[in-house]
């Protein structure tokens, strides 16, 4: 049963709690830089998207991580066999000991998910397997004050979002990600 995430953009309020909870739980190192877009490594990222102009401007926030794609491009290109898709739940995991830091996955991923810290090897969302395998929510979901993120099997998420006009994110890699309209 493929697992994935749902994001309700009506609820996401750009507070960054999920980002910090993810880094706290998974021990992801901080990196401070004022180069735009160079912050990281981040396994989950919150972005504000603006549209329109005063007085009709709109701002929404989105929180996204690895999509644990149905057909992950990263797995296909990895020359070291370091990335794999778990048959039981479709979670895409990376074996740090095999990763050679070549960045092929970074360029293959349509969503810019792979991240690199000081070790140089690829790291990314692992669906908090040390929590989810015990029946707990991933840290991001568990911490969200707005209940904007949900985790579950794609069937569960589809059922949950039936009345909410959510759609699966489009892409050749079949991202396991639903987002509200």
């Amino acid at each position: 049963m493929q697992k994935g995430f749902y994001l309700d953009t009506e609820r996401c309020m750009g507070c960054h709690t999920c980002e910090a909870a993810c880094k706290n739980w998974n021990g992801v190192e901080p990196k401070i830089t004022d180069k735009p877009g160079a912050q990281g490594p981040k396994w989950r990222r919150v972005t504000n998207i603006e549209s329109g102009a005063y007085p009709n401007a709109q701002i929404i926030s989105v929180s996204l991580s690895c999509m644990h794609c149905g057909e992950p491009a990263c797995v296909a290109v990895c020359p070291a066999g370091a990335i794999s898709k778990r048959p039981e739940d479709g979670i895409v995991v990376v074996d740090q000991s095999k990763c050679i830091g070549c960045h092929y996955c970074f360029f293959a991923c349509p969503f810019g998910v792979p991240q690199y810290g000081s070790s140089g090897t690829m790291q990314k969302c692992n669906y908090c397997l040390d929590r989810t395998e015990k029946g707990q929510e991933p840290a991001c979901v568990n911490s969200c004050p707005a209940l904007a993120i949900r985790a579950g099997t794609m069937d569960e998420l589809a059922k949950y979002t039936q009345e909410r006009l959510a759609r699966q994110l489009a892409g050749s890699t079949q991202p396991s990600m639903l987002i509200s309209r």
Binding site: T33, A38, Q39, R45, I49
Partner: protein, 724 residues
């Protein structure tokens, strides 16, 4: 800059998505830290699995006090997560970064004394024992007391707003000084003064609310945990009006969004009141029976026609009328405000009173004592200010400057500290946390603190303010100390240390009680016994400290109902006062009159020619609490630099590009920040967050105080912005 693409949900092309999420341009290798960015070593980046869960309270902001669960392995905290069963929570982005505070290499670890004279480039800090530190403090405070009088000693508490404040006030009063002040001189208390002048607070969001006005409140970034209730209200169909010069996350929940020019809230509320009266939408029964000055208020608001209010506030007349109708036609109404935005103006108290009056017209102000109520839990007031303060009242330093404040507040209004020190009215200070950067023209406050005969301070860090002290004490964080008692909803919780303190850091309550012993007042302070003190505080709740020690999730006290009593407001008339008799007596307008910000475009058109933008400071960012957390790498990476939020239109007119350096200039000086071009800011208004040492907004703001409350006008100044 502007992304035209709305997030389409079903079809995000690759480039669109990358652009939207800012992924393009990511370099894969770790760039080194640039000069000027903090070198933040250390930390908890090795999260280990397992360990025991211990529970405490998060102290990363001043108002949250959310429950937090800490994983502890081999005596060291490794991870945190929300304490789900606790009424306050979940922890936010700051709470999730708390371990970087706990284990920061720059934590103050030992008491230290200055060995070089004040004003030296280096204080020559020397480690001393707690006994020597407290002994020296006690000797110096006693010396001042004997030579000049106890009231010459200031007892000051900074952020966080901790329940440990009553302990400090007790210390002050027992020592003999009424001059206990806090950072509440610039935060929140002015709202309480305004409420008390009118009579009572308006209802907030309750299960019955049908229309809610959110006036200057962005809890998504200041207190995310409270957003849950607002979402629930939205889902149950509550009409929401959002009054905020910015577009905040709350804005997307609003049926109507009003964006007034900062500082004009009063005019907007008076304009809405006029519509409510004209269209006969007010609560007649409440107004006739429970208010005073209604006729005069009704006459006064006549001049605030929607067209005139549009000219003052910039809010389109049609939107104002629609908002007033939507609000007043959906009773019961509620009002959510936040600590300070409405009162950080020269006319702030009156503006806040005007909003309160508008909500009162819709019957939003419950009459105290009319219905049976469920009082909130509280522990015993150990300040004893009711009996100890009156005999000392004449020695309050704020008595002449802010007489209205003084009538309501048991703590002094401290914003004229530079004058009090210069005049020798205050000669020594004990600072339990303090940040001189919180005041406008803050260099004067740094000088005042430095000029005192003797000062001692407790903090987590050797901050620029602590650098001015004679003695510094290492304070324990909430994860390292016992207490104070935390009440959340119906839950009483006593946090116990989850890890041993860093160095010799001690809880504030613990060292203060020890200081009382050094001052020879031990008997009045439970002989320094913290547990005995907590027992005494808990007595009205029928609990003992030992009970709470055994209850790791706290003890829930079932609600009890107080029967209806003699109904009436706590005002001289016993009614809600549209026209305040207390203000009139003090020489102010009794009605909540609107006056232009003195440094604004209408009152100071000549200044506005050179400085055409409204300069708004102090609105919350999710990752920082005032000046705190700039040294927390997990938070700093989210916002590495001081920035200016500026509308695309204003940026374009000045040729300003995203993220480039810009100069913000006021008649008092300039600071350099990075431009953030965003629709968060409306055209004509720019926003800079406070507390950055390298771009301190308070160095370029004037000491303009609201004459009623003494609150500084942080939010309605004028500035110009240009490329650096």
């Amino acid at each position: 800059m502007q992304d035209k693409e709305k997030i389409p949900g079903c079809r995000l092309g690759r480039r669109t998505f990358l652009k939207a999420t800012g992924v393009l341009g990511v370099t894969a290798t770790g760039a080194g830290l640039k000069p000027g960015l903090p070198n933040v070593g250390v930390a908890d980046t090795k999260a280990t699995s397992g360990g025991e869960i211990r529970r405490s309270i998060c102290d990363m902001c001043c108002l949250g006090r959310c429950g937090i669960e800490v994983f502890v392995k081999d005596g060291r905290a490794t991870r945190v997560q929300p304490f789900k069963d606790y009424p306050n929570g979940p922890i936010c982005v700051k709470g999730n970064s708390i371990l970087f505070q706990l284990y920061h290499p720059d934590r103050l670890k030992y008491p230290m004394k200055r060995t070089k004279p004040k004003g030296s480039s280096n204080a020559g800090w020397q480690r001393i024992t707690w006994d020597e530190a407290l002994g020296t403090i006690a000797a110096n405070l006693t010396k001042i007391k004997q030579k000049y009088g106890a009231e010459k000693v200031l007892f000051y508490a900074g952020d966080p707003k901790d329940p440990v404040r009553p302990n400090l006030q007790r210390l002050a009063l027992k020592f003999g000084s009424p001059n206990y002040g806090t950072e509440s001189s610039v935060c929140h208390r002015a709202i309480i003064v305004a409420q008390n002048l009118n009579g009572a607070a308006s209802a907030g969001l309750t299960p019955a609310t049908r229309a809610l006005i959110i006036w200057a409140n962005n809890s998504a970034w200041s207190q995310p945990r409270s957003m849950g209730e607002i979402f629930k209200a939205k889902e149950r169909g509550v009409k929401i009006i959002d009054v905020d010069p910015r577009i905040a996350p709350t804005t997307k929940l609003a049926d109507i969004h009003l964006q007034p020019r900062p500082g004009t809230d009063g005019a907007l509320a008076l304009g809405m009141s006029r519509v409510i009266l004209h269209e006969n939408l007010y609560d007649k029964e409440f107004v006739l029976k429970w208010t005073q000055g209604f006729q005069e208020f009704g006459s006064y608001v006549q001049q605030f026609t929607p067209e005139k209010v549009e000219k003052i506030t910039g809010v389109p007349a049609g939107k104002l009328v629609a908002a007033a109708r939507l609000y007043a036609s959906n009773k019961p109404t509620g009002w959510l405000t936040s600590a300070s935005p409405t009162v950080h103006h020269w006319n702030g108290c009156q503006n806040h009173r005007a909003i309160s009056a508008m909500t009162a017209l819709t019957g939003a102000v419950p009459v105290p004592g009319l219905e049976p109520s469920t009082p909130a839990l509280s522990f015993r007031d150990i300040t004893e200010s009711r009996t100890l303060l009156p005999p000392l009242r004449s020695k309050r330093v704020d008595l002449k400057d802010f007489p209205v404040w003084e009538q309501f507040e048991p703590e002094i209004q401290i914003n004229r500290l530079p004058e009090y020190v210069k005049d020798g009215v205050l000669r020594a200070g004990l600072f339990v946390g303090c940040n001189y950067r919180m005041w406008p023209q803050d260099q004067l406050y740094a000088k005042a603190i430095s000029d005192m005969d003797f000062t001692a301070g407790a903090d987590f860090w050797l901050t620029p303010t602590m650098e001015l002290m004679d003695i510094v004490l290492p304070a324990a964080t909430s994860l390292e100390r016992l207490g104070p008692i935390n009440i959340a909803g119906r839950t009483v919780f006593l946090p116990q240390p989850v890890v041993p303190p860093i160095g010799e850091a001690r809880g504030d309550m613990e060292w203060m009680w020890d200081l009382a012993k050094h001052l020879g007042m031990g008997a009045e302070f439970w002989n320094g016994d913290v547990m005995a003190t907590i027992d005494s505080q808990l007595e009205p709740l029928g609990l003992k400290a030992a009970d709470l020690i055994k209850a790791p999730k706290g003890i829930v006290i079932p609600p009890s109902t107080t029967p209806a009593g003699k109904p009436g407001f706590k005002t001289p008339s016993g009614k809600f006062e549209f026209k305040s008799s207390i203000l009139e007596k003090a020489g102010f307008d009794g009605l909540p009159t609107y006056k232009e910000p003195p440094e604004g475009p209408i009152a100071a058109p000549q200044t506005a020619e050179k400085f055409p933008l409204i300069f708004n400071t102090g609105s919350r960012e999710p990752m920082y609490t005032h000046s705190r957390h700039r040294n927390n790498p997990r938070l700093r990476e989210l916002q590495p630099n001081p920035k200016l939020d500026i509308n695309p239109k204003d940026a374009q007119a000045r040729g300003i590009k995203q993220s480039e350096d810009v100069i913000v200039e006021t008649p008092l000086g300039r600071i350099t920040v990075k431009a953030n071009i965003t629709n968060i800011a409306q055209p004509g208004v720019v926003h800079v967050f406070h507390g950055w040492p390298q771009a301190d907004v308070n160095t370029i703001l004037p000491r303009t105080f609201d004459p009623i409350t003494g609150f500084p006008a942080f939010k309605s100044q004028l500035c110009q912005v240009r490329k650096a």
